[in-house]
Amino acid sequence: MGDIFVLAEHREGELREVTLEMLTLAGQLGGNVVCVLLGSGVDDYASKVAGYSDKVIYIDDPIFANFNAMAYQAALSELIKSEKPSVTLIGNTGQGVDIIGSLAVELEVPFTTDAVAVTLEGDKPVVTRQYYGGKINGNINFKDADTYIIGVREAAIPAGEGGKSGEVAKTANPVTAEITARKFLEYVEAAVGDVDITQSTLLVSIGRGIREDKNMPMVEELAQLMGADISGSRAVVDAGWLPTDRQVGISGKTVKPKLYLALGISGAFQHVTGMKGSDLVVAINKDPDAPIFQYADYGIVDDLLKVVPALIDKLKEMKG
């Protein structure tokens, strides 16, 4: 096993967690872990990833101040050609997906995306992926090659503690030609108050179990702590506690968040139909027979008015 390249991912002054997850994975695979850091004045990231790497190739160039798929692809392509890593890991993220397919085709390298597990058979990686929305798994068999590119799903492999201290090799950008066909302009945050629950990643969803208007601030505090948006059942919208566009269900919106935290929602079929695409469903309801538990991954049978304040405390504690 030769070098394993890991492409560091950063955005708006933040090194993204997926980087450490991939570095951890690369360490587990047993190769020489090489982190490729493309950035501009990000020496602090370099020292951070060095703790997980045997070597850091750090290209400090203003073109990498923000992500640009073409600039990234051009530099990576040269690096892979010259350094010949055995495997290159790239986050299967908004950034990574924008380069994996084109980079691999350019280099004529076998590749796959959205790996949830990677193991080795000899020197050849075997990738496990999910199919049909996670209903079944599948293993990828690569055509024999000297090098492979793998997109790794975020949060699929927990980041370890590191414990390495690789050297940071500052390298000049091998690509000097100007990139004109695609230009980064700016980041635009979704406007606050302009919530589209169909696009929400995390939803705290409330039902009749919330009982009174005066319990809303508690829910809002929880949602804010979690970085979640608030949605609700028809009854809550009818009561005027949430605007119409926050209603989940057959006559409201269909949502598919990563987490659907159902508070005091009984789970009528007409409601459940609107949230069936959620990745993880957690239900808190004092009625143990509430149908929502049939759709939940985790359930707590209790009064939400007792559990939610305790959960708020725990989350505050965690965040320090």
């Binding site: 908004g94 980079l103 929305g133 696009q199």
Partner: protein, 265 residues
């Protein structure tokens, strides 16, 4: 502006009650009980194509790889405002991976002389999210993935917003011709009425077999692939909710830990 939009027909497995059973070969699933629909993201790509056509003129060509049954999704796209369609259909195309699939699409698109190619950002069945991006490289045009907003700057340039984790939009300027892999949620796909779909069945769907693509047999299907799924397996998951027991202090602590482990808080 002439636009090509690539659409895939997929089984609708979004419902939690829809079971996916691995077939005897271990490489396929039992399709007999599925209903088939247009891939969700492709539906948004079709809508984006029609919206651009309505605003800026030009023609929309629908491209698909699939058997005759896929005519259903093609006709739906035609009913919404598509002008023509190509369907790539040959037994040798089975088991094509991302690269072979992109190669096939390229064979149908390369001579159409379009300004813009749209695909969905990901298919709901295999979830690779890579065909569009690979195709762009083969067509030698710039691309952008996860595109949620499209604005025409002038007849050479587009301004596109790419949706990143957490809903952040990364705004880019991109030169045409180019390929955009469209994310869901950027528009509201219109309804194709039953009557509209029936009328659209009068429009011709050009069918391309292997010979018509100009590709050789070893460039398509499994032999033309670099990463093939060879064995499905059933993940271990519990059917029922895992109940978290204890008093509120305990249950909330356990829940907070679960959420943290899953990277949700």
């Amino acid at each position: 502006m002439n636009i090509v939009v690539c659409v895939k027909q997929v089984p609708d497995t979004s419902d939690p009650d829809t079971e996916v059973h691995i077939d005897g070969t271990g490489r396929g699933v039992d399709q007999s009980k599925f209903s088939f629909v247009i891939n969700d993201a492709d539906n948004y790509a079709v809508e984006e194509a029609i919206l651009l056509k309505e605003k800026h003129g030009g023609e929309v060509t629908v491209v698909n790889i699939g058997g005759e049954a896929a005519n259903q999704v093609i006709r739906m796209a035609l009913a919404k405002g598509g002008d023509g369609a190509v369907r790539l259909d040959d037994e040798s195309f089975v088991y094509s991976d991302v690269v072979a699939t992109a190669r096939l699409l390229k064979s149908a698109i390369k001579d159409l002389g379009c300004d813009l190619v749209l695909t969905g950002c990901m298919a709901s069945d295999d979830g690779y999210g890579a065909v569009g991006i690979a195709l762009a490289q083969m067509l030698e045009v710039p691309h952008a993935a996860y595109v949620k907003t499209v604005e025409v700057v002038d007849d050479k340039k587009l301004k596109v917003g790419r949706e990143l984790e957490g809903g952040l939009l990364e705004m880019n300027e991109i030169e045409m011709p180019c390929l955009l892999a469209i994310q869901t949620g950027g528009n509201e796909p219109r309804y194709a009425s039953f009557k509209g779909i029936r009328e659209a069945s009068k429009k011709e769907i050009k069918v391309m077999d292997l010979a018509a693509t100009g590709l050789s047999a070893d460039e398509v299907g499994e032999s033309g692939s670099v990463a093939v799924m060879t064995q499905y397996s059933v993940p271990e998951v519990g059917d029922l909710a895992e109940m978290i027991e204890g008093d509120p202090a305990e249950t909330s602590a356990k829940l907070a830990n679960i959420l943290k482990e899953k990277g949700l808080v």
